[in-house]
Each structure stands twice: as C-alpha cells, then as structure tokens.
C-alpha cells in the first residue's frame, strides 16, 4: 500500500522542497515514503547523544535517509580502541573530536543534512538547553548515569527518546513516548550501578542495535508502521533472537508517574 508509482517519482522534479539531486539520491525510498514523508524526514531534527558504537550507524543511516538536521553530542575524542565498532570514525581520525569526525563523514555522505556538533558531555546544567529544539532524542550513551539523566530530561521536555544499550553480543531497546509509555526509570532500578572497567562488545552488536534505533526514529518521524511502544526489545546475537517483552509504567515512578 505504501509503494509509489515510478511515473509519480519522475513527476516530482521541479517541486519546491527537493532538488533534482535529492530526488535521485532518495529515489529508492521515495518509492516507499512518497514526497510528504520524505519532507517529514527533511524537516526533522534529531539529537544523537553519544557518537560511538551506537551513534555511528545511527548518524550515518539517518543522514543517508535525509533527516534534515542532526545534532551530535559527545565530549570525547577518537581513540584506536574505538575503531572495532565506531565505524563513522577512521584510523586517520584518532585524536580528533568525535563530533567533528562524524560531522565530516556526514557532510561527505549527504551534504543536504545540517549537522550541529556539540562537544560537551550531557549534564544537568546543559541537557535541557541542548535538547529543547530537537524532535527526537536517541540514547547512544555508554553509562547509566547519563542514560537516566537523558531519560529524565526527555520526560520533562516531552521528547520521544529511543533508548538502547549493548554489551558483548547483547542489547536492549526501548522507545519512550513520555506520558504514553514506560520511561527508562520504570524499567531499570534507581540503584543501577555502572559496569566496572571497559564494557566488552563485538562491534556488530551496536551496529545492529543502533540501526534498529535509527529504524524506529524513521518510523516515528514518518508515521509508518508500528512503533515498539510498551515493549522492551532484547537482542541476543549468540542465538540470533529478538524478543519483545511487554513492559508497564511504574505508577510510582519518580520520573514519569505525574504524566
């Protein structure tokens, strides 16, 4: 039902929103999305918080899909041990700010995308200001303290948040629509404590999980398909299983129960 006839795609040349270059660039997906949904992507502003293992595929694919504005937030610099999974950064980028390295790649991949690079760690002081102008936030962070802070700010600002975390061959995803679905704090306990030391991970795992986040973002923006609302997705790469576990709001959640 979504497919658009080829003749219609050709007839879009000369429209006000997209150049002929963009129409050719997005040709294969315009056949599914149509101009209206592609415009929704172009008009959207997505914050990717953390430009590492998860943030790399998310940034590349959302840029390739034509999300009009991507805000990258990360304080860190590229290091050698990042490169088994953080595929937006290359060997020649070692020592460079991640938000700059990523912006350079996005610009080369799709110059139609506006990229804002914020070289800051997300904190209580800056989170609200950094996220107030975006439509969707994507959690590509590597620690629970920041993940829970991002969750809290997104609930406060009523911004949709696509959470994920990875370890080894495993990962989880939760799409949070403040007021409608459980928030991250409903699912994990408030005493959740950081992993000690470095988190081991096979690079493909954040690749897969990050792309599932990007897919949910595209669905959220375009309104297509069914979002995984009220469902925690658990991915197990070793047994190649993806399980959806129905989750409920915590009626006494200190973060979202007032909504």
């Amino acid at each position: 039902m979504y497919f658009v006839k080829l003749t219609k795609v050709n007839s879009w040349v000369g429209n006000d929103t997209f150049s002929s270059e963009e129409l050719r660039r997005y040709d294969r997906q315009l056949r599914i999305l149509g101009l209206e949904r592609q415009k929704k992507l172009k008009d959207s502003k997505v914050a990717i918080v953390g430009v590492g293992g998860l943030g790399s595929p998310i940034a590349l694919y959302l840029a390739a899909a034509g999300v009009g504005h991507i805000k990258l937030i990360d304080f860190d610099k590229v290091s050698l041990s990042n490169l088994n999974r953080q595929i937006i950064h290359w060997t020649s980028d070692i020592g460079k700010d991640k938000v700059i390295s990523a912006k350079e790649k996005i610009n080369k991949l799709n110059p139609n995308v506006a990229v804002t690079s914020i070289k800051q760690a997300l904190s209580k002081d800056n989170a609200e200001a950094l996220l107030s102008d975006v439509d969707i936030c994507i959690d590509a962070l590597d620690n629970w303290k920041s993940k829970l802070l991002l969750n809290e700010i997104c609930v406060k600002l009523r911004k949709p948040l696509i959470h994920a975390g990875v370890k080894e061959f495993y990962g989880q995803i939760l799409v949070i629509i403040p007021g409608k679905t459980p928030c991250l704090r409903c699912i994990v306990s408030e005493e959740v404590i950081e992993e000690r030391g470095k988190i081991p991970v096979i690079g493909v795992t954040p690749g897969i999980i990050g792309l599932l986040q990007a897919l949910e973002a595209i669905k959220l923006i375009t309104g297509m398909g069914e979002l995984t609302l009220n469902q925690l997705i658990l991915f197990d790469g070793l047994s190649m299983e993806l399980t959806k576990v129905t989750v409920e709001k915590n009626p006494t959640c200190p973060v979202c129960s007032h909504l």
């Binding site: 990360d74 975390g165 990875v166 370890k167 699912i187 959740v192 070793l238 576990v245 989750v247």
Partner: protein, 97 residues
C-alpha cells in the same frame, strides 16, 4: 499454579535455559519461583541470580514480573499468581566507550 521464567543474555549461558515453567503452591513469591527453578537451572545459577540481583557494585539484574521491575514492587517478596511471567536479564549499559 504455574509461572513462566524467561532468561536472556548471559543468564542463558549461566542457566543453560531460555525458558522454564515452574510449578508452585498458591501464595508463592518471586523468591519461591527462583527456589523452585533450582531443579532445572542448578544451585550455582540460582545463587548467581540472587547475587546479581542484590549486588551493590555493578549493574543489578532486572527481574520483570509481567513487565514491572520487582524492585518497584516488593523485591523478591513480591507475590506471584498462576500464569505470571518473569523476564530476567542484565541491563546492557554500553554504547560508546
């Protein structure tokens, strides 16, 4: 009554199971479900689950009872009923470093 217990990620390696169904008397609690699961998952796996759930250093295991974290209910003393489901997994916190 019967309660389904599902294990994910490293818990599958630990228990050797993806899913078990535990038979219990009425008025059982989550801790009774885990106790009854020992027969299938072994004493060592049981002890690790309790340890990882209670630990103060490192991420705690999440035990969901019908989609609610038991930490927000009555912890291991939360009552269960026939047909309930426990999903047990370690939350993955990585993403960047």
């Amino acid at each position: 009554m019967k309660v389904t217990v599902k294990f994910y990620a490293i818990l599958r390696e630990l228990t050797g199971k993806k899913e078990i169904i535990v038979e219990l008397d009425n008025d059982a609690k989550v801790i009774d479900v885990l106790n009854a699961a020992k027969k299938e998952i072994g004493e060592k796996a049981y002890e690790k689950i309790i340890e990882y759930f209670n630990r103060k250093k490192g991420p705690r295991l999440v035990i969901l009872l019908n989609g609610r974290n038991i930490v927000h209910l009555n912890e291991l003393e939360t009552k269960v009923k026939d047909g309930d489901r426990l999903d047990i997994f370690p939350p993955a916190g990585g993403g960047k470093k």
